[in-house]
């Protein structure tokens, strides 16, 4: 039945490199996380530098944790388990190395460019086009190496972990490419091909499935390998693996629109987002059950093993987060959670609990094995476990509280029909103590991570590393006859290419059904005659808004609720954002919504904005917004105006050739007008060439187009 016994070596070196990278970037990502947790209520912690201000550090934190920490965690686990599950060495050591160094270079490039202000503004996809291309290439290298390894395997059938790896590879490729499509303006600036509603839909189809296929499916794959290995028990149910795998990848892809409930996304797309999210509970919990119930018969071992404790809490956190997710997708619940800190608490149950703890458990298990030694201190690992767990609680509970508190304040009206807290800032000051408690939770979690680093360091020093681990297995015979009585799914597990294609088809359906009509059917986005493209100065101002990451704290999407329309003006219509490449709807309101900042209802004098940007507390005492003094001294890059307008024209924004030609002059004229007004209002030092002027022009434009039709 079996072929000749063959001797070969597993490549542990690449696993070790990725594990070290995981630890290194984990520390960095969490440290930046701590920084932003403090910055949110102590704005002076931006050190008065544009590079370290919240609008840039927050995307750095999310990108570092997702793509650097978890990303390297994925590669660590995949490179270790794939070789062993297939009984072969990786197909090409060279590709493994390109994968490693390519990925680390991308991370460094990401960190540098994000802090410099190069950003697309799209959440978890902030990186500009040259880096996007590099990601595509390295991801293909990873997939190529993985698939070539699969094809030369010595194991007939693919284990469930590998199904998840394959689905991850193909889906992330599709998501990344579709969401990143953009026209370059310059080396580090581009505009996405989508605008407004369509851009928002594509972005959250991507954003939600970055969670699904970067933070979830690969980690489920890792769970399926490392949990049974560590607990030395068989997986609870093979049948459950099959059902929950296919159901999960099919249903997950539809759920993106639940990030856009009550926005101007067409109702039918929102509804699809809701119903598919509801159906996701069971497939997600299938993974949790298969993880937790694999521990049956060995619960006593959990008491003695830090690794298993980490796994148990990770899987439990996964179960909690995937129950909460569908809950948050119900429109009535989402009305509360959207724009508040509830969402932040939710994602950190996933990030700190599921991804963080599974990674810790995996590395605690892996390193002693590869270094042929015992873990330096089980006690220290236990301490890490408890400090980390308490850290998660201290992180999440205050934020749930903050989310509810702020929502309750937003929506409260006095008996005679006025908002009880008309000043947004009042609702922010109320939750500052909860922000402080959250940062304490972060400190605890980070302290645990330091113990982890020490423990791993000591273990490595005590052990001796085996770079090439000898193994043997019989060669795979060419012919194979299926046995009678085998599960039908076995046939798919023997055919990796077929599995890849099936997975691709399954994940394409949801996205296609939601996107194609939204793009092609005109009635989905009714146009508004009065909505016109931005002037050249406003366009530059908008790019400054994007560069400074204003969208991290300010939404531009007023939902149809009385408490929002009373506070911010009429709800936002889809037709109002048709020229917005990219959309800037935002997902969190640390500050107020700005969709109608220039409208009669909210419009402030130019000088208010000028003073506010220089020092927000001068106009809003107690504000937690950081200062932006550099906007007063940095010069508008007027050289780029013509190209920017030309690219926008190519994307369908109706600028005429004449307008593009006179763009630079028009910009200067409008800047002079605003400056004259500023001087009249007492800002004698106002300078028409500075960025602040463009930003004021943009902010004062917001929400004014539709007012013209009202006359």
């Amino acid at each position: 039945m079996s072929g000749q016994l063959e001797k070969f070596y597993y490549d542990n070196k690449i696993v070790k490199m990725f594990a070290y990278a995981t630890i290194f970037w984990g520390v960095i990502g969490m440290l930046v996380g701590l920084l932003v947790a403090f910055q949110i209520y102590i704005p002076a912690m931006n050190f008065n530098l544009e590079y370290t201000t919240f609008g840039r550090t927050r995307p750095l934190h999310t990108n570092a944790v997702i793509f650097a920490f978890v990303g390297n965690g994925i590669f660590t686990g995949v490179y270790y388990s794939l070789q062993r599950l297939l009984k072969t060495r990786m197909w090409s050591d060279k590709l493994s190395m390109i994968n490693f160094w390519g990925w680390q270079s991308i991370i460094v490039a990401a960190a540098v460019t994000l802090l410099m202000g190069f950003t697309t503004s799209k959440e978890y996809a902030e990186l500009e086009w040259p880096i996007d291309i590099a990601i595509t290439i390295i991801w293909v290298v990873f997939g190529w190496n993985m698939f070539a390894t699969i094809l030369k395997r010595r194991e007939r059938h693919l284990y469930v972990a590998i199904w998840f790896y394959i689905a991850t590879f193909v889906t992330v490729a599709v998501l990344h490419i579709v969401n990143s499509l953009a026209l370059p303006v310059s080396f580090m600036k581009s505009y996405p091909i989508y605008a407004g509603v369509q851009d928002a839909l594509v972005q959250w189809w991507y954003g939600h499935n970055a969670v699904a296929f970067f933070l979830t499916t690969p980690y489920l794959g890792l769970m399926y390998y490392f949990v049974p290995k560590a607990v030395k028990r068989p997986v609870y149910s093979y049948k459950l693996s099959i059902i929950h795998f296919w159901a999960l990848i099919f249903l997950y892809i539809w759920a993106g629109p639940h990030h856009l409930l009550y926005t101007s996304l067409p109702g039918w797309v929102q509804t699809l987002g809701v119903v598919f999210s509801i159906m996701l509970i069971a497939p997600s919990w299938g993974g949790m059950i298969n993880g937790l119930l694999t521990m049956r018969g060995a619960w006593d071992r959990v008491r003695d093993s830090a690794v298993l404790k980490f796994f148990v809490v990770a899987i439990t956190a996964y179960g909690m987060a995937t129950f909460e997710g569908p809950l948050l997708s119900l429109k009535s619940v989402n009305a509360i959670s959207h724009y508040t800190d509830w969402t932040i608490a939710h994602v950190h149950i996933g990030a700190l609990g599921w991804n963080g703890f599974l990674t810790f458990g995996m590395i605690y298990w892996l390193i002693p094995r590869m270094f042929k030694t015992k873990l330096y201190s089980e006690k220290l690992a236990n301490a890490h476990f408890w400090i980390g767990t308490i850290g998660i609680l201290f992180y999440a509970i205050p934020l749930y509280w903050a989310g509810f508190t702020q929502y309750l304040m937003w929506q409260e009206f006095t008996v005679d029909g006025f908002p009880a807290y008309p000043n947004f800032l009042e609702t922010v000051k109320e939750i500052v103590p909860m922000y402080a408690m959250r940062s304490f939770g972060g400190v605890l979690y980070f302290t645990g991570t330091i113990l982890f680093v020490i423990n791993i360091w000591k273990t490595v020093k005590a052990g001796s590393f085996t770079a090439n681990e000898a193994a043997e297995a019989p060669a795979l015979e060419k012919s194979y006859t299926a046995r009678a009585g085998d599960h039908w799914h076995r046939a798919i597990e023997r055919k990796p290419i077929r599995l890849l294609i099936f997975a691709l088809v399954v994940i394409l359906i949801g996205g296609a059904v939601e996107m194609v009509p939204t793009f092609l059917v005109k009635s989905n986005i009714p146009t508004i005659e009065a909505v016109k493209p931005y002037t050249p100065l406003e366009l530059q101002g908008r790019d400054i808004y994007i560069k400074e990451g204003c969208n991290n704290c300010h939404s531009q999407m007023i939902r149809p609720f009385r408490h929002e329309t009373e506070r911010y003006g009429d709800y936002t219509k889809s037709g109002e954002t048709v020229y917005n490449h990219p959309h800037l709807w935002g997902s969190k309101r640390t500050g107020p919504d700005l969709a109608r900042e220039g409208s009669k209802k909210l419009r402030k004098p130019h000088s208010w904005h000028y003073n506010h940007m220089y020092d927000p507390t001068s106009t809003s005492p107690g504000s937690i917004m950081p200062r932006y003094p550099w906007l007063l001294s940095k010069t508008i890059d007027n050289r780029s105006t013509t190209t920017k307008m030309a690219v926008m024209q190519k994307l369908g924004v109706p600028y005429t050739d004449a307008e593009i030609k006179s763009g630079k002059t028009d910009l200067e004229i409008q800047a002079e007008e605003i400056t004259a007004k500023l001087k009249e209002e007492g800002v004698k030092e106002a300078d028409a060439s500075k960025e602040i002027i463009a930003l004021i022009a943009y902010l004062q434009r917001l929400g004014t187009d539709v007012e013209k039709t009202e006359k």
Binding site: S237, I278, D416, G417
Partner: protein, 195 residues
Amino acid sequence: MSEDKKLKDEILGEDLLDHNYDGIMELDNELPPWWLYMFYGTIIAAIMYSIAFFGMGKFNQMDEYAEEIETAAATKAIFDENFGGSSINASTAVLVTEEDKLADGKEIYTKNCVACHAVNGGGGVGPNLTDDYSIHGNSINDLFKTIKFGIPEKGMIPWESQLNPEQMQNVASYILTEFKNKNVEGGKEAQGDKL
């Protein structure tokens, strides 16, 4: 698989499949019924929700909004009927002198107005309230009107959606009482017409 070859898990006695991946085995357990019924339940819920939305026109956010506004208006009407509503408007506003009302006015001023008009009323972004010049009139009625409807083109926002008529009357009275002819030092230069 023949009966005699059937593998059993040594601890739990459940059926094992003969799968072995790097030592990982898999049990031949059926799907947990509670899990399966939960899955069916969510599918049924999803179908029912879809029927309600697509078939019956339910959960339309514009309808919900219209209803919310209607309810709010009805509640307000009941309130006004029972508590007399406020009859104060730009033409009926009067200069109040009661201490508690002026204190309320001061609190409103501190919270909302100081950013542009300064604590001492000397102005900044907005005009000086302590000199004997005025752009939009300086009677209680003029001031009430300016506060209520704002001067949007100059950056004075309308306050009618944030302050109720009594509050606007109180803050207007506070301004006229507290700052009248104070001509504070360092105030903004005169704008508008001399009174």
